[in-house]
């Protein structure tokens, strides 16, 4: 009788042990596995964000190392906006300096910039502002005009040039010039994690 009671206790304990393993140990192990997977995912994401932050910090350092004069020159070369009156004034001043007879300079509005190379085709295109300059002068004076236009602090790209011979060795010229400004829509593209 005593022996059968011990046997019953042992069987009950074994059954209880099996029950504990099945109902607690095994599910907890599975849960721990899932938690470890989650930890790995979070750590990977944290490394990625950390790399982005480090890269951004180094870029900001590089940006801060650009001297203000160079930043100002870049802003002049590719400004946020183009003041059409200033450009017309500059064209008049350049014409006078070149020695040509300044006839007129007018703003011809905006043109969609489609002449970008493939490298920047996917990025935001600059606004292209068209201006038409009409002058008269000798061949040498017209060449001087282009030399001065090419030395300008911001690009004045000649898109069309029409030169006509006039009496007395003079030439009349009409030039379509493009002046560029940056399309300011980067700030609208927020980066959200």
């Amino acid at each position: 009788m005593m022996m059968s009671k011990n046997l019953l206790v042992q069987v009950a304990m074994i059954a209880l042990s099996i029950g504990i393993v099945i109902t607690f140990v095994e599910p907890t192990f599975s849960e721990i596995g899932e938690l470890q997977d989650d930890i790995a995912v979070y750590q990977t994401e944290q490394r990625k964000v950390s790399e982005v932050n480090n890269q951004l910090s180094s870029l900001v350092r590089v940006l801060n190392e650009v001297v203000p004069d160079d930043q100002r020159r870049l802003l002049t070369y590719m400004p946020d906006t183009v003041d059409t009156i200033s450009v017309v004034r500059d064209l008049s001043l350049i014409s006078n300096e070149a020695g040509v007879l300044f006839v007129s300079a007018v703003s011809a509005g905006l043109k969609n910039a489609t002449n970008q190379s493939e490298k920047v085709a996917d990025s935001i295109q600059p606004k292209e502002h068209l201006f038409t300059l009409s002058v008269e002068g000798t061949y040498g004076q017209l060449k001087n005009l282009f030399i001065l236009l090419e030395q300008n602090n911001y690009p004045m790209e000649a898109q069309n040039v029409v030169v006509q011979k006039r009496e007395g060795g003079f030439l009349s010229m009409e030039v379509s010039l493009s002046v560029f400004s940056l399309e300011d829509s980067v700030s609208s593209e927020k980066i959200v994690f």
Binding site: E45, S117, V120, G140, V162, V186
Partner: protein, 203 residues
Amino acid sequence: MFAALLSSGGVFLYAQYTNSQLDIAIEALNSEIGGFSQADMERVTQFNLRLLQAQDRLENSVSITSVFEALQAAIIDTVQINSLAMEREDDSRLVMKAVIQTDSFDSTIFQRGVFLRNGTIQEVEISDVQSTFTTQAIGTTQDLITLPAVSFQASLSIPLEAVPANPQSYRLNQISTVEPDEETPEQPVEQDDPEVEVNEDTL
């Protein structure tokens, strides 16, 4: 039974530890995200874009002066350009249409050969060849004479990379021409290569 209880306790404690590790990982990620500066990102992106666009325009800038010089180098003495229209086609080439006058058909043929042999000018097409007459003044008198002439239209193209703008070279030239003699009055900068025989009266 004891083994089952011990393993249960161990598994419970390890689960607690793993949970705390997950909390730490989440906190670290949030902290890293919090360290990201949107303003810095916009500043860097804006600067990069501006630099990229400026570089692109700079790389595709051309010198019309160089185009004139290329034309000068390719025009023979007996030829005169009556009108010239130049158009930039994207960032690839400049297309020119010139109405040209010569004194004879021989000069026209010779001029065509010079255009074709020129290294800068490409895609030469001569059309509308016409025999015509031109009036010219003789010496200092007001007498006009009529001379036979040949006019034609030349369509030419120049790739942009053949005439890149190099404003720095103008500045260097200006410095070198002004520096030797301070008394020298300011002269317009000429880019002529003395070794190349050119027709300065092209137009």
